[in-house]
């Protein structure tokens, strides 16, 4: 696990209480957003469960014994969703996908990689992609990968092949 650069706010107790002042709250949420994205990027975490979120150090600073309440977490996640960096798994909004790269960004990163490595016009398995070392998309959740590839499919740059046993993609 990579070392996380905690922002100064992380050790600032009021950071863990959603601020009533609208302007302050906006700044606070922006800080939370980048903190969550940084954290998820370095831990390669793709899914956040609101109910378990307080077990994760990102929403719980044990050193100053402060936790972000579930309402706050939900607010941060909604903010992330607004910028395309998160998406609820279902309507209950308890589990969320986190995209530290938006799906569009991820899609173009993958396609550039495929082009650079001569994978156009060939098929790749999802496992092959997520196990490519030292790439932005190595180790990501296969569901997130699939969503990104669907984006590419919309642009006509790939075609996702889904079957019960094998998930793959053909790049163009």
């Amino acid at each position: 696990m990579a070392e996380i650069n905690w922002p100064w706010q992380y050790n600032f107790p009021p950071f863990f209480t959603i601020q009533p002042n609208k302007e302050t709250q906006k700044l606070q949420l922006d800080a939370w957003k980048s903190l969550v994205l940084d954290y998820c990027r370095s831990t390669k975490q793709c899914v956040i469960d609101v109910r378990e979120a307080n077990n994760s150090p990102v929403f719980h600073n044990a050193a100053i014994s402060r936790k972000l309440p579930p309402e706050g977490i939900l607010l941060v996640l909604e903010e992330l969703a607004a910028s395309g960096n998160a998406e609820p798994l279902d309507k209950t909004k308890t589990r969320w996908f986190i995209f530290w790269r938006t799906l569009q960004e991820l899609a173009s990163i993958i396609h550039t990689w495929a082009k650079d490595n001569g994978f156009t016009n060939t098929v790749c398995t999802f496992y092959e992609l997520t196990n490519t070392p030292d790439q932005e998309f190595s180790g990501i959740d296969e569901d997130v990968l699939q969503k990104a590839l669907k984006e590419l499919e919309k642009q006509g740059k790939a075609e996702v092949i889904l079957s019960p046993e094998i998930n793959g993609v053909k790049f163009f």
Binding site: T122, V123, E128, E159, I161, I166, K170
Partner: protein, 220 residues
């Protein structure tokens, strides 16, 4: 309509071979995962054996080591499988490339044939003849419009003047290269040693230049 078209096109983009390759690749992934699993098992077994040896339980340690050996053999077997699969994947992919090259060659050949068919030899001859005629006509018109044209004698005069100019230029060039030889002939070698030691260079150059001029006049 567009949607329908793109949909039917999409379906055709993944070929049967693609599916076959994907299946093989997925199998390869599974073998790789299996290898990971075995490798992890080996790791634990090595650790356990070490602990058993440390605890003095020789029989159990040997048993674990036998199991470990078995797993190692399995690992090398899967390596062989992996190689076979990967070779096959490469072969299929290469065959796909070959098929594409073949298609392109066929298309190119067809196009070449079509273009060639559209050109009739007789027609080409006719066109070439017509072009020649037109060019001749153009020449005649040119001659008539400009009123006078150079006669053969005129051309000879022009040629001569040009040759003279060329000769002049060559003469100038030759002069410079020939001079040293002429000097040697005029002043035989035995005379050379009497060149004085103090400041002789300036004089000699002057003499040489004199000679140059003389010869230049003779040549022209």
């Amino acid at each position: 309509m567009g949607g329908l078209f793109s949909k039917s096109k999409k379906v055709s983009r993944v070929t049967e071979q693609d599916r076959a390759v994907l299946q093989m690749k997925s199998q390869r992934d599974k073998v790789k995962q299996y290898q990971k699993q075995i490798a992890r098992k080996l790791e634990t077994e090595r650790r356990i054996a070490k602990e058993l040896v440390a605890a003095g339980k020789k029989d159990r340690a040997l048993l674990i080591l036998r199991k470990k050996r078995l797993a190692e053999q399995l690992l090398s077997k899967t390596d062989g499988q992996l190689e076979t699969i990967e070779t096959l994947i490469q072969d299929v992919e290469f065959a796909q490339v070959e098929a594409k090259v073949f298609d392109v060659l066929k298309e190119g050949n067809e196009a070449l044939k079509k273009v060639n068919d559209s050109m009739n030899i007789d027609e080409i001859e006719k066109i070439m003849d017509e072009t020649k005629e037109a060019a001749e006509k153009q020449e005649e018109i040119q001659r008539l419009i400009s009123g006078e044209s150079f006669s053969d004698t005129d051309m000879e005069a022009i040629e001569k003047e040009f040759n003279d100019l060329v000769g002049e230029r060559d003469g100038e060039q030759n002069r410079e290269t020939e001079i040293p030889q002429n000097i040697k002939e005029d002043e035989p070698a035995p005379e050379l040693p009497e060149v004085p030691t103090d400041e002789p260079v300036q004089k000699d150059v002057a003499v040489k230049e004199n000679k140059k001029q003389k010869i230049a006049i003779e040549a022209s």
